[in-house]
C-alpha cells in the first residue's frame, strides 16, 4: 500500500487504540474499596487504597484528620487491611512494608499529607515487603503477616521485633493472623494453613496440625472448636481446630471462589461467594438449607449481623437483608458505587465502605443506605 495513504491510516488506528483504552480503562482500573470501617471514640476510621488513614466524624460527615503512609513496591501506596483498634490506638499494616501505630488525637486537624507514625519497619529487604492483611494483637504482642509469607511479632509499646527471626510460610499471606489463646493460624495463597504456638520470645510450629486446600485461603473463622475456612478453590471447609480433622463429610462447593469470612447465627452459616450467590448452610453438616440468593454480582466482603438480620452488599452495590430466623430475604437500597469491602457492625449501626471511599450507614428499620461521608452540604 502507498505509504502516503498508510500514514493517516496509522494515525486513525492509534486513535482507535487510545479510544479503546480510555473506554475500557474506566472499568478495568476503577479504584476499589477493600478495608472495612472501624470506630475509635466518637469517630470512624477509614483506610484507603491511596494509603490514607482518615478519621471521620459520622455526625458531621467530615474528615477531622488524616495521615498517609509512604510508597511501597512499584510506587504503590495502599492500605488493604481493616484498621485494628486497641487501647485507644489505630494499628495498620501498609503496602510500604511498615506497621503504623496512630494516636487518633494526633490526627485531629492534621494536614492531608501528614505522615502516619511508624511503629515497625523491618527493612530486611531492599524492596519493601507489603502488608496486605491487617494486624492482630494478643496482650502486648502484635502479629502481622507480610505478603512474602513472613509473620512478625512486635511489641506494641516499643515497636521492637520480639522473635529472633520471623516465621516464614511457604507462600504469600494476605490475611490478618487468626489468634486464639496462644495459638495463631496463618492461611497462605498456596492453600496451606499453619498452626503456631507463640509467646513473646518465639513460636513453635504444630507439626501434627496439617491442612491444605488446593488454592489460596480466603478467610479463617473460629467458632469454639470449629474452624471454617473459605478458599479460592470454590470450597468452604469445616475442620476441628485442635487437630485439623474434617468435620463435614465433604467441603461445601460453590461455583466460584469464597473470599469473605462467613457469618454465624445459631446453627446457620451465611457464606457470600464470588459466584454472585449468597449461601446458607447448616454449620454442622455443611449442607445447604435454603436456595442460595442470586444477587447478580460477586460478593467479596463479609456480611454483618444486627439483631436477627444479616446485611451484605455485592460488587454492584446492591444490598440485601436476610432474616436469619426464617431465612426470608429482601433487597435493600442500591449503593451508588461498587463495593468490595465487608460490612462493619459498630455498636449496632452498620457501615459500609464503597468505591471512591464513601461511607454509608445502614439502618435496619429503613433498610436504605445513607451516605455519611463525605457529607454533602
Amino acid at each position: 500500500m502507498n505509504k502516503r495513504r498508510l500514514f493517516p491510516a496509522v494515525l486513525v488506528l492509534l486513535s482507535i487504540v487510545i479510544f479503546t483504552v480510555s473506554c475500557t480503562g474506566s472499568t478495568l482500573f476503577a479504584t476499589k474499596s477493600w478495608s472495612e470501617v472501624n470506630e475509635i471514640g466518637e469517630n470512624l476510621v477509614l483506610t484507603t487504597k491511596k494509603g490514607e488513614v482518615i478519621l471521620v466524624n459520622p455526625a458531621s460527615g467530615k474528615a477531622v484528620g488524616q495521615c498517609e503512609t509512604s510508597e511501597g513496591r512499584n510506587g504503590i501506596s495502599a492500605i488493604y487491611g481493616t484498621p485494628l483498634i486497641n487501647e485507644g490506638f489505630i494499628y495498620i499494616g501498609g503496602f510500604d512494608g511498615a506497621v503504623y501505630k496512630i494516636n487518633p488525637d494526633s490526627l485531629v486537624g492534621s494536614r492531608e499529607d501528614s505522615p502516619c507514625t511508624v511503629l515497625f519497619d523491618p527493612n530486611y529487604q531492599e524492596e519493601s515487603d507489603p502488608f496486605i492483611g491487617g494486624p492482630s494483637i494478643k496482650d502486648d504482642i502484635l502479629l502481622i503477616n507480610s505478603e512474602s509469607g513472613l509473620l512478625y511479632a512486635i511489641d506494641i509499646n516499643s515497636g521492637a521485633e520480639l522473635w529472633p527471626t520471623p516465621f516464614q510460610a511457604d507462600s504469600r499471606t494476605w490475611n490478618a493472623p487468626t489468634i486464639s489463646g496462644n495459638t495463631v493460624y496463618i492461611g497462605t495463597l498456596s492453600g496451606k494453613i499453619y498452626s503456631l504456638d507463640f509467646n513473646r520470645s518465639g513460636f513453635s510450629i504444630n507439626d501434627d496440625w496439617n491442612f491444605k486446600a488446593s488454592a489460596g485461603i480466603g478467610s479463617i473463622t473460629l467458632d469454639q472448636d470449629v474452624m471454617f475456612i473459605t478458599s479460592f478453590n470454590n470450597k468452604i471447609y469445616a475442620i476441628n481446630r485442635n487437630n485439623a480433622e474434617p468435620i463435614w463429610q465433604e467441603p461445601f462447593e460453590g461455583e466460584n471462589w469464597f473470599w469473605a469470612a462467613p457469618v454465624l447465627f445459631e446453627d446457620r452459616l451465611f457464606a457470600p461467594s464470588l459466584d454472585h450467590k449468597f449461601y446458607i448452610l447448616d454449620k454442622n453438616s455443611g449442607r445447604s438449607v435454603a436456595e442460595p440468593i442470586e444477587t447478580g454480582g460477586a460478593i467479596r466482603g463479609s456480611a454483618a449481623i444486627t439483631g436477627n438480620l444479616i446485611f451484605f452488599a455485592n460488587e454492584e452495590g446492591e444490598t440485601w437483608w436476610i432474616d436469619a430466623t426464617n431465612l426470608t430475604y429482601e433487597a435493600g437500597g442500591k449503593l451508588p458505587k461498587a463495593n468490595y469491602a465487608g460490612v462493619s457492625n459498630l455498636d449496632g449501626t452498620l457501615y459500609i465502605h464503597t468505591d471512591e471511599d464513601l461511607i454509608f450507614s445502614v439502618r435496619a428499620d429503613s433498610r436504605l443506605p445513607l451516605q455519611i461521608f463525605p457529607f454533602d452540604d
Binding site: M1, N2, K3, R4, R5, L6, F7, A9, V10, L13, I16, V17, T20, V21, C23, T24, S26, T27, L28, K32, W34, N74, I76, Y80, I132, R172, W174, L189, G191, S214, A215, G216, F232, N233, N234, E255, N256, W257, W259, L274, A298, R300, Y340
Partner: protein, 301 residues
Amino acid sequence: MDVIGDIFIFLLLQPMLNALIFLYAVLFQNIAYSIIALTVVTRLIFYPLTVKQLKASATMQRLGPEMAAIKEKYKSNPQAQQKATMSLYKENGVSPLGCLGPMLIQFPIWIGLYYAIIKGLGDLPDSFMYLSQRLYSWMPYGSELLPLNTQVPWLAGSLDLIQPDPTPILPLLVAMSTWAQQKIMQAPAMSTQQRQQQQIMLFMFPIMLGFLAFTFPSGLALYWFVSNIITVILQGFFSGWGNLSIIGSSRPIITPAKKSSDSEGELETQEENNQPNKRKRDSKRKRPSRGRSGKRRNKRS
C-alpha cells in the same frame, strides 16, 4: 462506553487471559514461554490474513514500476491516473486496503494482551478479584496456579514481566525488530518525497514502539519482539531478504522507462545513490507474472 468495554473483555481480553494462564500451566509455569507461545498461537490464528498481507505487500513492491508508469502517463489527469491504478490493482488481485486488515487486528491484540498482563498477571488482591470473574470455569487450570510467577531470568538477575524492563535491552530489541519489519516490508519509492516519507516511517515506528516498551509491561514488549521476528521471517520467505540489506540500503526510486512504449510499460529503476545496484536493474524486464517473479526480483535487488 461500558458496552464497548464488555465486548472487548468478552471477545478478546477473557480468551487471551485464559490462554495465557493455560499456557503458563502447560509450559513449565514460565510466563515468558507462555507469552511467546501466545504470540505464536495468535500469529497462527491470523496466518491466513498475514499471508494475504504479505502477498499484498510483495505484489505492491512488484507493481512499483507499473504504478510509476501510470503516474507518469497520466500526470495531468488525476482521475484517469486513479482509474488506471485501480485497474492495475484489480488485475493483480490486490486491494489498496489489503495491508490494513492484519494491522487493524494487531492493535486490539496489543490492547488485549496489555490488559491480560496487567490484570491477569498482577499479584494484588484487586487482580485476583478481577481474575475470579474472568477465568473460564471449565478450564483445567485456574486459581490453584495463582499468583503466577512473573519473574523470569534476565541478564544477571531477573525481570518482572508485568513491569517495564529497567534496562534498555528489551526496548532496544523491540525497536530493532520493528525497524527490520518495516524495512523488509517497504515498497520501492516512486518519488523523492515518498522516499523521504518512507524514511520517516522507517524510524518513527521503531522509536515509538521502543519508547512504549520502556514504559509498558515487559511482557508486552516480549510479544512485540517475537511478533516482529515472526513477521520478518515470513516476509523474508515471501519476498526475499534483500530489503534487509544494510550495505547499499538506499531504496531505489522507481521511475518509468524513458522509452516505454505502452501504458503497461517496460520499466527501469534508477538508483539515486547506488550505481552498482542500478546496473543490476537496468536490464529491461517484462511485466512479471503474479507470485514467484516478484519474489525473484526482490531477491536480486
